[in-house]
Symmetry: none
Subunit: 228 residues, 4 copies
């Protein structure tokens, strides 16, 4: 019905889907309240349990008003995923700033990712649910993150920090997948005795993972020129 394209140009000035005109200041505030409410409701209840009524009630606005700002439930969900993607990437790149080496940067990037996930555990579930709600948006989400990874790996290969024989695209997707499942297993599933989720990834797990990554990426002097 509505294509995700509507919403993927995420930096553009928001326009009303009803009038096609840019929003007034009051309108922008309402839109923001809707997005914030949607974030909470989707995070707490998941896509299918969430409803427009719940979102508008949480936002404190009238039900009908919703459709002045978004085409559909799917479209606000997509806008939200786009927004989360920006925030995750921001958390990651912030963490990577000033890293001494590529491998350090890699570790720092993961740390940023895990920090975001730990701080918004339910929210990250929203992103994963996009696979079943709006696959295109999920692709976009993954692709944007992988893009950065891949570029980093590629330049690190040139400086010799990363094993030149690796395929940067495949390696980037592999790293992304590792982060996802480690995050799911050791952050989202983990609860202490009182049922409280951890505030951050267990450092031992993080170190174990960092070593795994180091191994995978670092040039191997013992095998240089080796295998097919």
């Amino acid at each position: 019905m509505s294509t995700p394209g509507d919403v993927l140009d995420d930096e553009a000035t928001p326009i009303s889907p009803a009038t096609g005109r840019p929003l007034t200041k009051r309108g922008e505030a309402t839109r923001r309240r809707l997005l914030e409410a949607a974030e909470e409701v989707f995070a707490e209840q998941g896509y299918h349990e969430a409803s427009i009524v719940k979102i508008t009630e949480r936002a404190g606005i009238g039900l009908g008003t919703f459709y002045l700002y978004f085409d559909s439930k799917q479209s606000i969900f997509e806008a939200l995923v786009i927004d989360l993607n920006r925030r995750v990437r921001h958390s990651m790149s912030e963490a990577m700033e000033g890293a001494a080496s590529r491998l350090d940067a890699e570790r720092a990037g993961f740390a940023g990712f895990f920090r975001f996930t730990a701080q918004h555990p339910a929210l990250y579930r929203v992103v994963r649910e996009a696979e079943f709600v709006s696959p295109e948006v999920l692709r976009l989400h993954y692709s944007r993150i992988v893009e950065g990874y891949e570029a980093g790996l590629r330049s690190a290969q040139q400086t010799g920090d990363v094993d030149r024989r690796l395929d940067p695209a495949v390696a980037a997707w592999a790293l992304m997948g590792m982060g996802e499942l480690i995050g799911m297993r050791f952050l989202l599933w983990e609860r202490d005795a009182d049922g409280v989720p951890p505030a951050e990834l267990d450092p031992a797990v993080f170190d174990a993972m960092a070593m795994f990554i180091d191994n995978a990426l670092a040039p191997r002097h013992d095998q240089e020129g080796g295998r097919s």
Copy 2:
């Protein structure tokens, strides 16, 4: 009402949830037809688009009959995920049989996983969707696979085939995550010019991934005893 526990003892003789008695031969056949139909419908339409009407129509049985065999849509979904888990693991262990070394076995396991995914692309989506439908069942699915991985890594560490400094649990989850995302990106998303999904994982991708894994797991003679 129904807990996933009902369905997790996957080898037990199936019993009717309506009467609590074991199924007759005729009943077992009907149950099987329902599961097969559910597999198709869930794969094609996803959990929420699927409906019991669609499933029973596909199975060619009456709507009410469904409830003689399953409590709800969720319960047949869970039974299906359990069944898929068994089949994925079978595909993996079959592929690993007779591997010469641990690293070979690892590669072979991935190959088995990718083969299954390539042959049932939509089906694997079903498993992933379980995260949002029946999280306990998804945990079980992942845990069962990881369990095997972890045991394999642990014994390979003893023989020295795998870097002893790695944490086998973390490594196992990392490998699992890699497989998932590589499979998603290079199998489920991939289409040729005619929109046909690939029959198998692109060998170049597979090799690239194999090298990544080898790097990650193999003992590093140049750093032996090295880092924190």
Copy 3:
């Protein structure tokens, strides 16, 4: 669909609705078990909550077997009401035996009615529910009881024990109604501190009612020949 007439000739040898032939000894036993089970289930759950499955399970027989003995859920319900009617009337006439006077007999009849109600509180609900399930059977139930009342009043008027100016039919229905509502209010609704229903009607209530009835029925010497 099925008319209550099927079942109203309550003393006839029961015949199978399926074959139209009289039941064998084994068949009669099964029929009796069904009726007993139905009595319990209807009493506990009411007509609409009760189901054939529940009845046959309680009776310990197969579901399909039910239809060898009764046409429908309604028809077993009707059979049950007929049966209860017989038992209530038996309880009443037993109590009335050997009463010294008509007014004594009247009181005794009520006592018999209340005793039955107190002993089978839920069961008497079944009879009342017949108004909404099978009105003809309820009419029959009431009419049969009223018939006896009316005859008793009529003959007592001849002996002068009961005010000759009263219309025996109207008086009989009035008495019936009194019994019903007093029974409902002071037996079915009453619970002690532990939620236990009373084992019998509170004697004070019974006496108060008896005086009301005495007043209503006894000839009034002070007004004899009086009012319109």
Copy 4:
């Protein structure tokens, strides 16, 4: 989920169960149409045969709209019984106004009750069915009527119009029961040759009943101080 309590405060401004807010004028009109339609449908078909589809069709509104005003079929039924209770009592107290004596008032009250029943024969069935749908509401219905009766009897005992030895509560329930069954037998069941229900209670029956009541209530000068 919904307790009958929701609906028992019958004079309160109606609020939407969906939003919890008071109704707009338009909303109140819709609610009234629903109640009127429900009255007809319940009266014609009984509680279990009635359905929300039938009610909304009769009301000429959309199916989903029903749930903006009532939680469930049971809840509109309860609202209806409450409403009928108010109307019956109104009919009774109107008839009793200006009665010369207590016994006259008693007769007049019954006349009012029978008039209402005669004018809405099917409707009174609705009230009786409440016993099996929502027992609390039925209790409330009876209790409210009996309350008035009892107070009237008590004060008439003080003036000496009613036999002081009677228990007013028991007498009130007895009178209520008489009215119910006389009404059922001589109004609801009665049909003339063309199957038309009577427009009012047969005066002969009414007089017979009035005499019964007079007898029951009037002080007996011949026995004053008499029995146990």
